[in-house]
């Protein structure tokens, strides 16, 4: 469900639903994108402030819940002038407009706190790898230009020669191209990493691939009784509790007997370290395989699973017992994973992505105006103003640069002061 709150909620909701919405009355609607093409069929309902949860006009768009469709609805809402709510913001607004009891203040505050932790986790996940590197590079490039411009403004009477405005213009143009490229990729989602990852670990032949196939619902990995069959990391997307979960199967961890296998082991180790959720498997018929797992990394959720329970008469009771082969206990396992994933309270990745795209777009706009103003007005203080805005927008992704940081950089780069 996408919830909109504020004075523009009704306008945006009705535009997307392509129909007039009635107060407190579910309306069947086809949600449309900017070309008038259907995104999804669903239900929409409007609440007029102050008789709404937040005390403002509220519209709820109930779609079918697939993250992809939700992401499209969200994108459309943002394009129509909405902005992403902060964690717990609806409750905060409800509280601030007197809709919630004072006693509930604590709960609202907790919601904001846990929401922001979830957001931070999601952002970290989404920032892994290439995307993070490129956004950081953008941030550095903007900072470098700001250092030049701010220094040329504040130290105009110094002997230092600062970069020429023509040069700044060239750099701004290059920067704009870079932002466009990153934005293009981010919008397609290509550069962003996936959602939560779940990794299967355990000694060779404890049934990791079988469980993976069971979870995924079809045969992906090659299953054989011979140890070392799985030579590489295999990936599988599944959806749990509305979250995209990437299941990663790893080569059995043991000293490699061939070069190909050594590479597989290396990759497996990295996958295990980075995983959000880990299923530690052991073979019920071989008790010595229990405990053959690496130490968990920080914040990792670890669930111990005894596989092949169909091969033994007695059930271990202190951990989940399953049989990947016949499916016994697998439903319980999925529930446990869901519970753990929910308790991790990570914001869905597509929300984190929407935030990033929104921030990049603001950065792009600000850069555009920096170039425009620079060219027409020849006013470096206005270029500086727009660059500050662009930098602040990126700061929402990679962390804010303070004036002190900027001054520090200026004094490192230039010999200033009499």
């Amino acid at each position: 469900m996408v919830r909109l709150s504020g004075p523009e909620a009704l306008r945006i909701g009705e535009t997307i639903s392509a129909t007039e919405l009635q107060t407190r009355h579910l309306t069947r609607a086809t949600f449309e994108d900017s070309n008038g093409e259907a995104i999804d069929e669903g239900l929409a309902v409007a609440f007029r402030g102050p008789a709404s949860y937040t005390g403002e006009d509220v519209v709820e768009l109930h779609a079918h819940g697939s993250p992809v469709l939700l992401a499209m609805l969200l994108e459309r809402s943002l394009a129509l002038g909405a902005r992403m709510a902060k964690p717990g913001e609806f409750s905060e607004r409800a509280f601030l407009s007197g809709k919630l009891d004072l006693v509930q203040a604590e709960a609202v505050a907790d919601l904001i706190a846990s929401g922001s932790i979830g957001m931070a986790r999601a952002a970290v996940r989404s920032l892994k790898g290439e995307f993070s590197r490129r956004v950081t590079a953008l941030d550095d490039a903007i900072k470098a230009i700001r250092v030049e411009i701010e220094a040329s403004i504040d130290f105009a009477d110094e002997a230092e020669s600062f970069v020429e405005m023509r040069e700044i213009e060239t750099r701004l143009a290059a920067l704009a191209t870079q932002v466009d490229a990153v934005l293009g990729e981010a919008a397609r989602g290509a550069a962003l990493s996936k959602g939560l990852t779940l990794v299967l670990t355990g000694a060779p032949n404890v049934g990791k691939s079988s469980l993976m196939n069971r979870l995924a619902g079809h045969e992906r990995a090659i299953v054989s009784a011979e140890p070392g069959t799985t030579r590489d990391v295999l990936h599988q997307q599944i959806e749990l509790a509305g979250q995209q979960l990437e299941v990663v199967d790893t080569a059995g961890l043991r000293s490699a007997s061939s070069e190909v296998e050594a590479e597989g082991v290396k990759r497996a180790q990295a996958a295990i370290e980075e995983a959000d959720v880990r299923l530690d498997l052991w073979d019920a018929s071989r008790p010595e395989t229990r405990g053959a797992w690496p130490a968990p990394s920080t914040g990792q959720v670890v669930i111990e699973v005894m596989n092949k329970q169909d091969l033994v008469a007695t059930r271990e009771t202190d951990c989940l017992a399953i049989s990947a082969k016949d499916g016994t206990g697998c439903a319980e396992l999925v529930k446990e994973v869901e519970r753990q994933v929910l308790s991790a309270r990570g914001e869905p990745t597509f929300l984190a992505r929407a935030r990033h795209v929104e921030a990049l777009q603001r950065c792009q706009e600000a850069l555009k105006s920096a170039r425009h103003e620079h060219i027409t007005a020849k006013a470096p203080e206005l270029v500086a103003e727009s660059l500050r805005e662009a930098h602040t927008a990126l700061g929402e992704i990679v962390g804010l640069t303070t004036t002190e940081d900027l001054l520090g950089e200026i004094f490192r780069n230039f010999c200033l002061g009499k």
């Binding site: 706190a113 403004i153 009477d157 027409t376 002061g417």
Partner: protein
């Protein structure tokens, strides 16, 4: 001794002390200004200049509130320039080279002419407290002066130690005693005391320099003016500065002498400013440089002394002499006074309320270098604010604190009390988020009405201000309603002068927003032919003013959105007793920081490092609950 009393006592008569004393007295408080030496009131201890980028903005604000500094600079300035003249009005800054003697005289006159203000020459040794409030000051001679509020402006005198080479001695300025007893007393009282450092270059006898071999730098034409009430007629004879530079040989001399430097020999523990480094620092930190610029600044009209700005040093005297003589035009230079470094005490400004009263002791206000700042202008601005609030304290009025959106003065105190200082704090325009709104040209519009309310602005200044405001607003109004048709003679003339194309019917105000359309071009074209002259008499500078406002008009809505958010946060006070540790959503680290800094409102809390939007929302929710409960 009995019977010696005042409502406000200001200790120290430098740039902070003078503004504090005059402001308190202007507001009607019976004020006493105590200084070690009446002769050195308004002394410029460092370089003889007022203003510069960011600093002149402060000077204009002090002036808009009826302060002394700008007028004194107008009366003493022997070289005036506008920095950033080619950039936008927001970052243009006036700088005046001052005759030290004339400046002192102007300040002394302002002090002596001020009603409700008396002078005392004494060395203050002790502050007397009762029930957590200041009640009196005691001098080294044992004289006690009772007071309801005390403003302490000790400059570099608090625990001052002067270093030249390996020699060091206690001193407040060259040839003056430090305030050692007072420094010890403040440490005893439990204030967080730190050490900072600054320095000066050796002074040179101009008759022993060959100025002709340096580059001359004259005043700008037309001569700039510092005060809103000032005029070019007040300026004394102008005298140029000269520019020369260090060279490889200078750097060799310095490198060879580094082991004798108190800075590099480890005898100075205080932190010096990064933007005002000694020549030793420059050579070490920027080793690849083969030359550093030096401004030879005349000390005055009646003296031959020059201040070589750019070679502040604490090297031994022989090294100072050698390095000076290695510089082009200085081969035969005679040093009149050696350069030195000075270390002094400052009190952590996070121990202050934003109105500059100490949190520890009621009625005690601090201003200037004691708060970790550097610069005459920064000192004057704080002095003014401390004086205003000391007088307000006496009259049991609410404190006044300008916000970051109103004034550089607001940026200054907010930075100090929320961030503290890691090095001497200097104003830069980049510190102001609302830079395009906080300009030299509108300091009066921003602050003079407030100054009038506070009792700081006299009838003359008020009249001048109101007249100017009325003229500018009438002109702006007329320009908004005046349309220029593409086919009109005016349009053709404007296009001819500015090169700007007028394709559609446009208001004169919107034309002014175009960068290429200058105020004078528009004035030439519209002044005679349109109705503006009949509705109001305007001056060329009024057109310039409207032009400035028109060019930034596009930014105002954007900034106002930010300002609205800031205002909302400022309007949410945080009670001093607020307990951060009981709030579950805040990290222990952040709760610790908030408790230590005790922000006065949500806006201040927002600027504490490590603060996140989520933490701010959590605070807001809890504050709201406490207010409603």
């Amino acid at each position: 001794m009995v019977g010696l009393a005042a409502e406000v006592i200001v200790i120290g008569a430098g740039h902070a002390g003078v503004e504090a004393a005059c402001a308190a007295a202007r507001m009607g408080a019976d004020t006493l200004l105590i200084t070690q030496s009446i002769e050195t009131i308004g002394q410029m201890s460092c370089n003889p200049a007022i203003g510069g980028i960011g600093k002149s903005h402060l000077v204009r604000e002090v002036d808009a509130l009826g302060g002394v500094m700008a007028s004194a600079a107008d009366a003493a300035g022997i070289q005036f320039r506008v920095l950033n003249a080619s950039k936008g009005a927001a970052v243009r800054a006036t700088r005046a080279q001052a005759d030290r003697g004339l400046y002192r005289t102007a300040v002394r006159q302002a002090v002596e002419r001020q009603a409700n203000l008396r002078l005392v020459q004494q060395d203050v040794a002790n502050l007397v407290f009762e029930d957590g409030r200041v009640v009196a000051v005691e001098t080294a001679l044992g004289i006690t002066y009772a007071a309801l509020a005390v403003v302490l402006t000790t400059g570099t005198f608090l625990g001052g130690v002067i270093h030249v080479g390996r020699a060091s001695h206690a001193g407040g300025r060259a040839g003056e005693r430090p305030s050692t007893q007072l420094a010890a007393r403040l440490r005893e009282l439990g204030f967080q005391v730190g050490r900072l450092k600054t320095g000066t270059p050796p002074r040179i006898d101009g008759r022993t320099m060959d100025l002709a071999r340096m580059t001359e730098q004259r005043s700008d034409e037309p001569l700039p003016v510092m005060s809103f009430l000032g005029s070019i007629d007040e300026h004394p004879t102008q005298k140029p500065c000269h520019i020369t530079a260090t060279n490889e040989r200078t750097h060799e001399i310095i490198r060879a002498a580094l082991s004798h430097s108190p800075l590099y020999g480890g005898r100075i523990e205080g932190v010096g400013p990064r933007y005002c480094p000694s020549i030793e620092d420059k050579i070490v930190r920027f080793a690849a440089r083969t030359s550093h610029q030096i401004f030879m600044e005349p000390e005055g009209l009646e003296t031959h002394e020059y201040y070589p700005n750019g070679i502040s040093t604490s090297l031994p005297f022989d090294a100072q002499l050698a390095l000076v003589r290695s510089i082009k035009g200085c081969e035969a230079a005679h040093i009149t006074r050696p350069g030195y470094a000075i270390e002094y005490d400052f009190l952590d400004p996070r121990g202050l309320w934003p109105w500059l009263e100490t949190r520890r002791i009621k009625g005690l206000f601090l201003a200037g270098q004691i708060n970790g700042t550097t610069g005459y202008e920064e000192a004057a601005a704080q002095g003014l604010l401390a004086g205003i609030n000391a007088a307000g304290h006496v009259a049991a009025r609410e404190p006044w604190v300008p916000s970051r959106r109103e004034a550089y003065l607001g940026v200054l105190v907010d930075d100090l009390v929320t961030q503290g200082v890691a090095e001497p704090y200097r104003m830069f325009t980049s510190r102001a988020e609302y830079r395009v709104l906080l300009r030299e040209d509108n300091a009066d519009a921003r602050l003079t009405p407030k100054g009038r309310d506070l009792g700081l602005v006299d009838d003359h200044r008020w009249h001048v201000h109101q007249t100017r405001m009325a003229r500018v607003s009438k002109l702006a109004g007329a320009l908004r309603t005046t349309r220029v048709a593409p086919s009109s003679a005016q349009a053709k003339q404007i296009s001819a002068i500015s090169g700007s194309k007028i394709a559609t019917d446009v208001s004169a105000f919107d034309l002014l927003r175009r960068p290429e359309v200058g105020a004078s071009a528009l004035r030439t074209s519209l002044q005679t032919s349109l109705h503006i002259n009949e509705t109001c008499e305007t001056l060329p500078q009024d057109w310039e003013q409207v032009k400035i406002e028109a060019s930034y008009a596009g930014y105002i809505p954007r900034m106002e959105r930010e300002i609205e958010q800031l205002k909302a946060c400022e309007a949410m006070p945080i009670p001093a007793s607020f307990s951060y540790h009981t709030i579950s959503g805040l990290s222990a680290e952040l709760a610790e920081k908030l408790s230590a800094r005790a922000p006065a409102n949500l806006a201040e809390a927002a600027r504490i490092d490590g603060m996140t939007p989520a933490a701010l929302s959590i605070l807001l929710v809890h504050l709201k609950r406490d207010v409603s409960a």
